[in-house]
Assembly symmetry: C2
Homo-oligomer: 808 residues x 2
């Protein structure tokens, strides 16, 4: 057990570590060469094109020579605070702004309570002095003297603790209510202030029934024309595009080679780049690479255009899903909220997520399969949370020296060396666990995908929930009660329900020192590491050195990252849990939590303003979960305090404390009814008001044009933009023919005519000017122009791949 | 513990008792004098006006002289089976038909399983013969030799039991699925086949916000004109009519006196009936009663008409609730299923219950109050279920002889008498419990009312749920584990979760004999008592002898009763639970359950056809609850079998059995998604189809006229019909004036114009001809005519009072 001194040393070390990170950050961030690592958001928003420089020299291009800026190394903190909340919403979206509010909520809840607890509870605990008599025992640390452990059994002083728990619960509920209210209002205001977006008019319909003799688009069209005659506008079918996606990937590869050879030629205009066309470029005929790839791409484009038509026309490749659009927000809201068919498993409607938020692969899961998937994943998550040690122990048993010897006997001479042996023995068993914990969030995301949610935001929320359960059981309970989660489960099943809070409650005060260290290591130092962005920094410079050929490549090398809700929110919730549980037990833990919240708030504010680029906008859809889990933490703390007091023979207090969970639960229920619908459904009043306003301001709208292709799978978009551009070098008659072809395809796509390209949602338009600055040279000028005009397509493909990579 | 012989004797006694009841029923039902007791449904449906007679003699009017009919005393059984299900739906409504299906479901589930269990499990149990060695112990009865207790621990024979449990679960789930499907289809068909009814077009809106400067009708009108512009038609405000209701009651009293004196005069035309007008008719001026009451009623009517106008015009008496009507089923369905306001606690919409199903008093409860009420009632129900013995024990401690002596010392000479003393000592303590159990359903209904549900059908379902929990804990668990529910709760809290099923599981086989007796006493004999209708029989004849003055009185004396869902469904669910739990444990219990289901099915079929008159039609809205609780019974049986096998040291079987609850739960979840929406929401597809059909068949509908006043509080209706009739004896100008007044009132009632009286829903119209057969006499003819024309009103008031009585 750590003494106060140990904690102090640990705090100093961590503070020092965090301080070093901050110094490093302060120095690195002002170097122009790192500008794209620490300020990518400004590049993406188009407000910055090249790094700021201190002076005009060549060195100044890479290193900051203005020595004054080195002395104001904490300048980023006030800078981060400058931007107002409404500016943040405009700049980075509502999700980020609401995410920051979680930290301020933490400060608001724990700030006043910390003062109260330190002023009231610490003196009460210290004055009791039971533990001074037991000083020789090992379990007693100095921290414990400040905690509830120091109060002797049956003492009437416990009423102070109960009082603080009451006050704390009321205060926390009050703050939670206010915050929920604020967030709900912010969300509605944000939705109301949004300009017209396709998701406002669109509903995703799943489980379209298979009508014999009718194609799916016909069925959908007929159904909605019949049942929503006044507002139905059109719909977009969803295609099974697996084969086409493969082609898109291959074409992207060809494009990269083409770019590479064009650049190679530009740098060395006198030598024609050549390559062999045989296996892996090792043998075969030697050809002019640029010309070869140009030809290849042309052929490929022709094939793709055929394949594209095939996909869009073949009714067998249509999935029983559709994005149905209405001519008003009211119509869409009505359709999303009502039951369509008398068989409630068919024609399932829900508001469409924004196009970039859709997880396309899950759109076509039938209803019965969803039930089974949820069951299977439910069981798997339970098993993962409670039995994850079993496979790891198995791997660990393999990954020791004997196992290694058996698998790879030729390594024996090396593994016999003493220092390697000891290293491996200390390292290998831990490695399995480390790898597991590292990949855990991805595993959980994968599990959520199997469950069949169709929006990335929902997938992340579900993964976050699973991660929270895992941490609750394995970090919180696992630290308090020794033993694996499986052993805990076993002992819980064989203890009485009243015994469990007692068992946990007793150990809680003893683990305060552990959690203080945890907060400092995982919290303080982790957040300081977050701001330093060591990994993106290194990767950016490596890419910059070896891969970046064009400005566009530099843009691609820039990795702004994003707030990873599925990891950060569960960790945050764990800190809330720790703070709430220890408020009445060991209040000395609160300052550490508060410092974490304040520091993390500053860091994330800075990062959100300067770095992160969110992938989607869910308008704070995660808030009900945050609220719910903080309330759950309140309940846990009340139960544990009851158990703790029962073990202190203060059972008389149970009736006093049993009121709290009941009140907390009904508070939660009330909040759920009061606020949650705002996060689930779009009220008709709002929809109608928005519709009316729009009709007054823009009476001559072409709805269909606005909605055209918004919900076409992104790979079709990318190709669409590419085809007319690539054929621009050929005759205009060809182009016309092609457009006719496209039109033919469109007839099949039921009333959606892409009269305007969709720039708002897909690609940020500020990329156009990046490659305009590069000037083409030599006789490949036209080819290069062509290729540069294809960047639009290129970028799209890249985005799509990134997308694939991130979510597979 | 009962031996097989004891059970046999008990079965014989009960069979004999049930048989005697049936004989008595067979004799009584064919007496013409009892015709209105055993066949009231036919009188109410207008198909029978006077009792059937065997011959024309005077005696034949009262007693059945046709001796042949006495020999066919079970003739009612085939008669009850004659009517087809669709005829029952037409004759008695869908609720009754679906209620009967619960019994056939029981037969279908338990029939095949009984054969399997008797053929497989009984031989397995008997052949094991462990208990033969322990014969001397008291706990062993012959029944136990047929049960699982007889199998020795660790025997591999338990796999038979597990197998039967598996087969049973699959079979039960299969039948449940089929039945749920059937019931859902029946419900949708019934809804589709219904002719136009106000509830199809109407939505009840609660928590209308208070807009300063606007009256509630204005607010409602504006809101729905804005947000449902295409389908909104009109709305009906709800008035606080407490004062008016009092007046209606008083007028009814006057009317009864008037009728009494008119009749008195008719019987003795030579003597004018007189009365005193002072206190209680004891002193004061002597007046001509008929003239006096006639005058009184006239004055009263004038006051009432003033009060009525006042209520309907005073905006302060309007409640923040409204019935909003739409011009199509589609519009109403959309409004009921969507969220209207951005504050989800305002403008709460839901489909309106049919007018006779509304519990008017709960319409105006604000949202926050509902949350608190639900919390308070939740805690109260928990307390009632687990601690109900405490107040009863308290009352019992008061209600003994000493208590009586203290409260009423003057009774001491009597209570000292030996036989009275022993009677009181044996009787008084039990009395409190008896009274409690007797009033329990009413108490539970009262609690549900406090929770704030607005439909009688919902109130009854909620009361049924509470009653089920009470029976589950106090009858099922209470019989298995000795001790009060409070003691059980205490022991459960201090046992581990794995220990609880074991504790209960062990006792289960031992209690089989008790439950067999319970089924025979409560089930067989109770159902036989149900068909005899002893209480209504006695009451009808008493009323007939002393109170009935007119034919109309005779109609009122007839008490058809109704299937009391809030008592019968929970008891039924208890029988399902018993059958399901004992299938694998003591299969010999199944025949008793099966006999119960078959017998009860016959009896209720007979009663539904001939006797009961349901108060409302919920279209089988109780089915999801029935389904859910049968599934819960399956889960309970699986857990208890696991516990039982664990106590038999067959722990290896746990993994085999743990799959079952998981499968059962996911079956339940699937069913919930698949079928429950059909019971909660009206699909748009159906609504639109119905709308279209109607538009084609009846293109010139006056919607507003149809909806006029359908949702006015019944007391306003009754008065409305009464006023023009009572003034029919006066000049026609007066009538016109009055109609103008009414029209004035209507303007305030926002677009609803009662151009046609609502006969479909309020009063069954077949009552008109009853008093037409009576001919008036003497100079009171006109007065009598007037009074007879007021029967319409009278009957309404009576209905309203009955209504009040039943639900207060």
């Amino acid at each position: 057990m750590a003494t106060l001194q140990d904690i102090g040393v640990s705090a100093l070390i961590n503070l020092f570590g965090a301080f070093m990170f901050l110094i490093a950050f302060a120095v690195l961030r002002i170097q122009p060469i790192n500008d794209r690592v620490y300020f990518p958001k400004w590049y993406l928003s188009g407000e910055r094109n090249s790094p700021r420089r201190s002076d005009g020299t060549l060195v100044g291009k890479f290193v900051n020579l203005n020595y004054k800026t080195y002395f104001t190394f904490l300048k980023w903190m006030p800078q981060a605070m400058k931007m107002s909340e409404s500016e943040i919403i405009r700049h980075a979206g509502l999700d980020s702004a609401i995410f920051l509010r979680i930290y301020t909520l933490g400060l608001k809840i724990f700030g006043p309570v910390m003062v109260l607890a330190l002023v009231v509870l610490v003196p009460v605990n210290v004055s009791s002095g039971t533990l001074f008599f037991l000083k020789k025992e090992l379990v007693v640390s100095n921290i414990d003297k400040l905690s509830i452990s120091n109060v002797q059994p049956k003492s009437s002083k416990f009423f102070f603790h109960i009082g603080v728990e009451y006050l704390f619960t009321f205060w926390a509920c009050f703050m939670l209510y206010r915050e929920y209210n604020n967030v709900a209002i912010m969300r509605l205001q944000y939705l109301a202030s949004q300009r017209r977006r396709p998701e406002q008019f669109t509903v995703v319909v799943r489980n379209v029934p298979d009508m014999p003799g009718h194609s799916i688009p016909d069925t959908v069209d007929q159904f909605f024309k019949t049942n929503h005659p006044e507002h139905y506008l059109c719909h977009q079918a969803v295609y099974n595009a697996n084969k086409f996606a493969k082609l898109v990937k291959e074409r992207a590869k060809l494009q990269r080679w083409f770019d590479y050879y064009v650049l190679k030629h530009q740098r060395n205009p006198h030598k024609m780049p050549t390559c062999r066309i045989g296996f892996l470029g090792l043998w075969g005929k030697m050809v002019d690479s640029v010309e070869y790839y140009k030809q290849q791409i042309k052929e490929f484009d022709h094939n793709m255009s055929l394949e594209r038509q095939k996909v869009l026309q073949d009714s067998k490749l249509m999935l029983p899903v559709a994005f149905v659009s209405f001519d008003s927000r009211w119509g869409a809201a009505v359709c999303a909220q009502t039951q369509q068919s008398k068989n409630p498993t068919l024609w399932l409607t829900s508001s469409a997520p924004e196009p970039r938020d859709i997880y396309w692969k899950n759109l076509a899961i039938p209803f019965i399969s969803l039930t089974i998937r949820k069951l299977v994943i439910g069981i798997s998550v339970f098993a993962l949370v409670f039995f994850y040690m079993i496979p790891i122990a198995f791997v660990q048993s393999l990954a020791n020296l004997e196992g290694l010897d058996r698998v790879a006997p030729f390594l024996r001479p090396i593994t016999r060396l003493d220092f390697i042996k000891s290293f491996l023995q200390g390292f290998l068993p831990g490695l399995a666990l480390k790898i597991f914990l590292w990949i855990l969030p991805s595993v959980l995301l994968f599990m959520s995908k199997i469950e069949g949610y169709i929006a990335l935001s929902t997938l992340e929320r579900r993964a976050a929930a699973k991660y929270y359960y895992f941490m609750l059981v394995n970090v919180f309970l696992g630290s308090i009660i020794a033993g694996t989660a499986f052993e805990q489960l076993h002992s819980f099943l064989h203890q009485s329900p009243t015994q469990i809070p007692r068992t946990i409650g007793v150990s809680i005060p003893m683990k305060a020192t552990f959690f203080i260290t945890y907060i400092m290591v995982d919290g303080w130092a982790g957040i300081a590491g977050e701001i330093l962005r060591l990994k993106p920094l290194v990767i950016f410079h490596l890419k910059n050195m070896f891969l970046v050929k064009t400005e566009e490549d530099r843009v691609r090398a820039m990795d702004p990252g994003f707030v990873d809700f599925k990891e950060t929110i569960p960790s945050l919730q764990l800190y809330f849990l720790l703070g709430i549980v220890y408020t009445a037990v060991t209040p000395i833990l609160l300052p550490f939590i508060l410092i974490f919240f304040a520091f993390a708030y500053l860091v994330y504010r800075h990062q959100i303003i300067n770095v992160y680029n969110q992938q989607y906008e869910s308008c704070g859809a995660f808030w009900p979960h945050v609220h719910g889990r903080i309330v759950a933490s309140l309940l846990i703390s009340q139960l544990l305090l009851m158990g703790l007091l029962a073990s202190k023979e203060a059972v008389d207090s149970t009736p006093l404390l049993i009121i709290l969970p009941i009140l907390t639960l009904s508070f939660h229920k009330y909040c759920k009814h009061r606020f949650e619908p705002a996060f689930r459904q779009y009220p008709l009043e709002e929809a109608m008001a928005k519709d009316k306003l729009e009709k007054e301001t823009e009476p001559m709208l072409n709805m269909k044009a606005d909605l055209a292709d918004a919900y076409l799978h992104p790979i079709f978009h990318s190709f669409e933009k590419e085809v007319p551009l690539s054929s621009s070098s050929s005759s205009s008659t060809e182009e016309e023919t092609h457009q006719e072809e496209t039109a033919e395809v469109r007839v099949d796509k039921h009333e959606i005519h892409s009269s305007s390209p969709v720039t708002e949602l897909g690609t940020p338009s500020h990329h156009h000017h990046v490659y305009n600055s590069t000037s083409p040279s030599s006789h490949y000028a036209s080819a290069y122009e062509q290729s540069s005009s294809q960047y639009e397509y290129h970028y799209n493909t890249h985005q799509y791949e990134e997308h694939e990579y991130r979510y597979n």
